[in-house]
């Protein structure tokens, strides 16, 4: 652990990585709780995979035509677009929801791979999109991460009561005059933004694990939604910081280490709870 702490004082990339982890943990804990209690991890998964399309297209435009777009911005656009599409299909479409989600999932990825293959140079970026590379986070990325985080937190602070009502009992919410479709869309957009943050940290493939494992673990420990959010944030902080430190020290891939840590924490909580019940 000493090496990590020493280098943290010297290298800015490590400081950025740590900050990215801390900031992401906040939205991850909050939005992860919604995703878990609402049982919509498959939607989060579809949005996550769809971001590859945005990142691939943005990188293509950036490298081939010198557009001023970063892959992270492309991911934001793709995720928001996917969220809107899903909301549209959910509320107005007559298609099966899972079919449409699979389509968004795979077409998004296909578009990403298409653009990456058309972009010159090495394709090492593809790996970092899929499996995350928290050590690659730049100062500019960090700013965008901070802004997205701020948006997610303020929306949830303002509309916590509306969102919990919609998640708990959509029908009652609608009857009592809440604009359910609007808040459902709002929640999907917040999920989209959080997914983008997480793609930076753990990569497209492992986003869903990070959204659900800490929140599900927290859900086993507490009995109210906002308690669950706070606990989930703490667990996320533990996993991102701990995972980063361990991976740096032992030269493991950071994203994978964070996820393995999240999984370990989750199973540890389950085991702990079983022992409690027996005792």
């Amino acid at each position: 652990m000493g090496q990590f702490l020493r280098d943290l004082q010297t290298y800015s990339f490590l400081q950025y990585a740590l900050f990215a982890g801390l900031l992401t943990s906040i939205s991850c804990g909050i939005i992860g709780s919604y995703v878990t209690v609402r049982r919509i991890t498959y939607i989060a998964g579809a949005i996550a995979h769809c971001t590859l399309g945005g990142m691939g297209a943005a990188r293509f435009l950036q490298k081939e035509y010198a557009f001023a777009v970063t892959p992270l911005q492309g991911a934001v656009a793709a995720a928001l677009l996917a969220a809107c599409l899903i909301a549209l299909v959910k509320h107005y479409g007559s298609q099966r929801e899972d079919t449409v989600l699979s389509a968004i999932y795979s077409i998004g990825m296909a578009i990403g791979i298409f653009f990456i293959s058309r972009t010159g140079g090495y394709n090492e970026d593809l790996m970092s999109y899929l499996f995350g590379d928290i050590l690659m986070v730049s100062q500019k990325d960090l700013l965008l991460i901070g802004i997205l985080d701020l948006i997610v937190v303020s929306v949830v602070l303002l509309f916590y009561n509306k969102l919990i009502s919609v998640c708990f009992d959509e029908e009652f919410a609608r009857i009592s005059g809440i604009r359910v479709k609007l808040f459902d869309l709002l929640l999907l957009l917040m999920i989209a933004l959080t997914v983008v943050l997480l793609v930076q940290v753990v990569g497209i493939v492992m986003v869903v694990a990070m959204l659900t494992l800490p929140a599900a673990g927290a859900g086993l420990l507490v009995k109210r939604l906002w308690h669950m959010m706070v606990t989930a944030i703490l667990l996320c902080l533990l996993c991102t910081t701990g995972g980063l430190a361990i991976s740096y020290q032992l030269d493991f891939p950071a994203g994978a280490t964070i996820i393995i840590m999240a999984g370990t924490v989750y199973f540890f909580i389950i085991a702990l709870k079983r022992r409690w019940k027996k005792a």
Partner: protein, 253 residues
Amino acid sequence: MKKIVIDVQNMSFSYGSSAILEDVTFSVKEREMIGVVGPNGGGKTTLLRLMLGLLKPDKGTITVLGKSPEKSSHRIGYVPQHRLFDPLFPVSVLDVVMMGRVGKSWGGPFTREDREIAAQALRDVDLYDRHQAAFADLSGGQRQRTLIARALASSAELLFFDEPTANVDSFAEQNIYNLLSELNKKLTIIVVSHDVGFVSRYVSSVICVNRLVYIHPTCEIDGKSIKDIYGTDLTMVRHDHRCSEKGHTWVNF
């Protein structure tokens, strides 16, 4: 002269090509307690959902509190069946009751007034001492009372119940019905129930729903006559069969 709060005129509704409700006409006056009975699949829940504005009639009109159901639904307290809820959802009893207040503001935190109204609603259903408990840890009857408190907290003028005594024990059932009679002193109540015995004891009129809809005052079909006509543990299917065989008579209030 009591005000009419629900007025349904020549209303029909179908899912696709199968007619669920046909040419339904009835009205409910304020502070009435009406039971809605009928066989499964007969359209009871559909009728309730139409009156809540969750479904739109194909023909005819529904007026609730002088307006369309969509515009009046926030003045209706809807109490669904408690078993429809996710037992893993992390909410406290008070959290659930506070949801009755959420439609009253644009967002932000609850006001002191919201909290007081919710606390009073919990006292009204005699559950205030459990307000910090997790909703999932309650018994069926307590959950049902929590949902009633949520409807009360919304300051509703009409209360709609969907099978309020399904999946609760008989003691809790008695409690809930006593509570309904108490609430009925101030509010108009509509109860969907499969329980014929309940219908005769507590409500002033019964709406029989099986595609066609008829309304009777219970003074004409009191507990004894229901027993005489249908026997004691008669299912709703037979009840309805007999109803249509004998033919219903329209009663003007």
